[in-house]
């Protein structure tokens, strides 16, 4: 019987072609959309984690209250000791000290007079320790357009858009003006060791990266750090583990009433990341639900049209002694076969398109000039194992569902009218 049905599907283009096309398009779009959202949200989350939030972040309680303003005057003074403790207590994470800061950069002319000035955000990170993970985490080697990663004190990287705007070259010097953690004026000279482009408008329009020891000196923060960030060693954020670690850490300081006592927060507790993570996690289910509903309605209609067209076929089959239940079941088998064919085709097309966009990406840089979101300017899809089945199962299900709804009419068919109906 399966062979008989398969023949019918192959021979009857109007029975199979439209549903196969509908299922294929739906599945392909689902796969592509999933890849797109996974890529965009994933890259954005990863970039935020790398630059700002970490998987877990330790700050002083006072700093944590206003951490979006980077209040370095409330930074942790015993950061080196605390980092050592964290490394010992939670070895499943890589713990790094960071100083984020804002400031003004002054570029001198040949006489040492101010040629240009501009505001920047900056990162003091560990660039000099042997085997430091920060260079890789900031993707510095791949992001450098000119020059090199700082290797000696007094060197810094600046972002290329910023450098271009002020006509700065590798090897030029500049002065960083800022505020010390005691509220005094801070300034320190740096040499541009290279220029980087992170591919995120919010970073590329004005940022500097220097070793944390230089930034400590510049801002009078010896031994201190605004933030200690922890990254799971496998590179993937695990909210359950992060929550357990955070709870454990914060419990140990629960009785300490000092506003400078450390507090740990998760990635999802920072800067709207909870919504981001929830959307990323829920997106699969939302997409599948919308897909199944929309496709089922379309395929239901296609099935109804097919049912009308095949009205006499079903009548003859009833007259020949086929049970209604059996005809209904064969309709479901047909739906299954068409759904599988459409889903395979759709998944292949969706994966192909996703792969293309994963390699090439779409440059949204012009649209993101004024964006404050930390996300890559060139957004790319990401193919994950889920992409191989996220469209397949709903593709098959919606086709079967469509036929199941359309086939209900078979049960309402009155056999007593068959002769009359079949004489038309």
């Amino acid at each position: 019987m399966i062979k008989f049905l398969f023949k019918g599907i192959l021979n009857d283009k109007s029975r199979s072609l439209l549903p196969v096309i509908v299922v294929s398009i739906g599945v392909a779009l689902t796969v592509l959309l999933h890849g797109w959202l996974t890529g965009v949200l994933g890259d954005s989350i990863a970039m935020n984690a790398s630059f700002n939030s970490g998987h877990l972040k330790v700050m002083s309680r006072a700093y944590a209250k206003d951490d979006t303003q980077i209040p370095n005057d409330l930074a942790m003074l015993n950061a080196d000791t605390l980092t050592g403790t964290l490394k010992k207590s939670y070895p499943e994470l890589d713990w790094v000290r960071r100083i984020r800061f804002g400031g003004l950069i002054d570029f001198p002319d040949s006489l040492g007079e101010t040629r240009a000035q501009g505001p920047v955000v900056g990162w003091g990170i560990d660039l000099f320790s042997p085997g430091t993970s920060e260079i890789e985490r900031f993707n510095l080697r791949n992001s450098i357009l000119d020059g090199r990663v700082p290797s000696v004190p007094g060197e810094a990287l600046i972002t290329s858009d910023f450098a271009g705007k002020f006509k700065v070259k590798t090897g030029d010097t500049f002065t960083l003006f800022g505020t010390t953690m005691d509220g005094g004026m801070a300034f320190k000279n740096f040499t541009v060791s290279g220029m980087v482009r992170f591919g995120s408008s919010v970073l590329d329009r004005g940022a500097i990266i220097a070793d944390i020891s230089d930034i400590r000196k510049a801002l009078g923060m010896e031994g201190a750090a605004g933030e200690i960030l922890g990254y799971f060693n496998n590179g993937l954020y695990d909210d359950t583990k992060a929550t357990a670690l955070m709870t454990d850490f914060n419990r140990s300081y629960a009785s300490d009433k000092d506003e400078y006592a450390p507090v740990m927060i998760r990635l999802r507790d920072q800067g709207g990341m909870a919504e981001y993570l929830d959307i990323a996690n829920a997106m699969g289910a939302i997409m599948v639900s919308i897909f199944v509903m929309a496709m089922s309605v379309v395929l239901w209609n296609a099935g109804l049209l097919g049912g009308l067209r095949r009205y006499s076929e079903f009548g003859v089959r009833l007259a020949l002694g086929e049970e209604k239940k059996h005809i209904y079941r064969t309709l479901l088998y047909e739906g299954l076969l068409i759904g599988i064919i459409g889903s395979i085709a759709g998944t292949a097309v969706g994966l192909g398109a996703s792969y293309y966009l994963q390699v090439v990406g779409v440059d949204l840089g012009d649209m993101m000039q004024r964006s404050t979101l930390m996300m890559p300017s060139v957004v790319k899809t990401r193919i994950t194992p889920v992409a191989f089945y996220i469209g397949f199962i709903p593709g098959v299900f919606s086709m079967v569902m469509g036929n199941a709804l359309a086939g209900i009419a078979i049960y309402k068919r009155n056999t007593a009218s068959l002769f009359k109906e079949l004489e038309v």
Partner: protein, 241 residues
């Protein structure tokens, strides 16, 4: 010689609800059909021919009385039992052939055997045999759209006969055919009736069909007006197809 009785209709009436009242399609019918009969139900439109075929074919239930078909009381059959009765014991031939257009001639004829879950080799042998009866072995791979009206009706006969049913019910089988094709079709059925001893019951008002019938039941207003056994029906000695 008395033919063994395979259908017995007892006090059968059929009423349909029409608006506020009832329409009586059949009134108190009493008939018996013997094995191997070649019988026609004849009468004007609305006389109850198709309704009687429906009930004998277990497609409809009587309002009163019963039709005993091959020992099965139609009014007491479940949907499943009705389907089984049709599947194994009753063949249908329709005025408009009703072949499945996307399948080949072979597939159309084979379908009835698929429902009976016969093996591939058995199906092939039986289908080819049925196509040979109607002279269409060379058209086995053709689609219905490639056949003439007469050929389509012959495929329809092969489909009805392939499962070797005891009874074949044909509703106006020649209505869409020209005179020549009508004769061919009826002769083919008559030949199968003789050779396989299959009971054929027609609903018809085609004179060409009536010449071949060995029994004509005249229906009028849902009642049997006359039940005549033809002493000398047209004999088919050879069917050239």
């Amino acid at each position: 010689m008395q033919k063994p009785e395979i259908i017995k209709i007892e006090n059968l009436s059929k009423k349909y609800h029409m608006g506020e009242g009832d329409f009586t399609a059949l009134r108190n019918i009493n008939l018996t059909f013997g094995k191997g009969e070649f019988t026609g139900l004849v009468g004007p439109s609305g006389s109850g021919k198709t309704t009687l075929l429906n009930i004998i074919g277990s497609l409809d239930n009587p309002s009163e009385g019963d039709a005993i078909v091959l020992g099965n009381a139609v009014s007491r059959l479940t949907h499943k039992q009705s389907a089984t009765l049709r599947n194994f014991h009753i063949g249908f031939i329709f005025q408009t052939y009703n072949l499945l257009p996307v399948y080949t001639v072979f597939d159309n004829v084979e379908f009835a055997l698929l429902l009976q879950k016969r093996t591939v080799s058995e199906r092939y042998k039986t289908v080819m045999e049925a196509l040979e009866w109607v002279g269409l072995t060379d058209k086995a791979k053709s689609k219905p759209a490639q056949l003439s009206g007469g050929e389509c009706q012959r495929v329809s006969i092969a489909r009805a006969m392939v499962k070797r049913p005891e009874i074949v019910l044909a509703d106006e089988p020649s209505a869409n055919l020209d005179a020549s094709n009508s004769h061919h079709i009826i002769q083919t059925m008559k030949k199968l009736n003789r050779e396989l001893n299959t009971t054929f019951i027609f609903a018809t008002h085609d004179e060409k069909v009536m010449q071949y019938l060995d029994r004509i039941i005249h229906l009028k207003d849902g009642m049997v007006e006359k039940d005549e056994f033809i002493q000398d029906p047209k004999i088919v000695s050879h069917v050239s197809i």
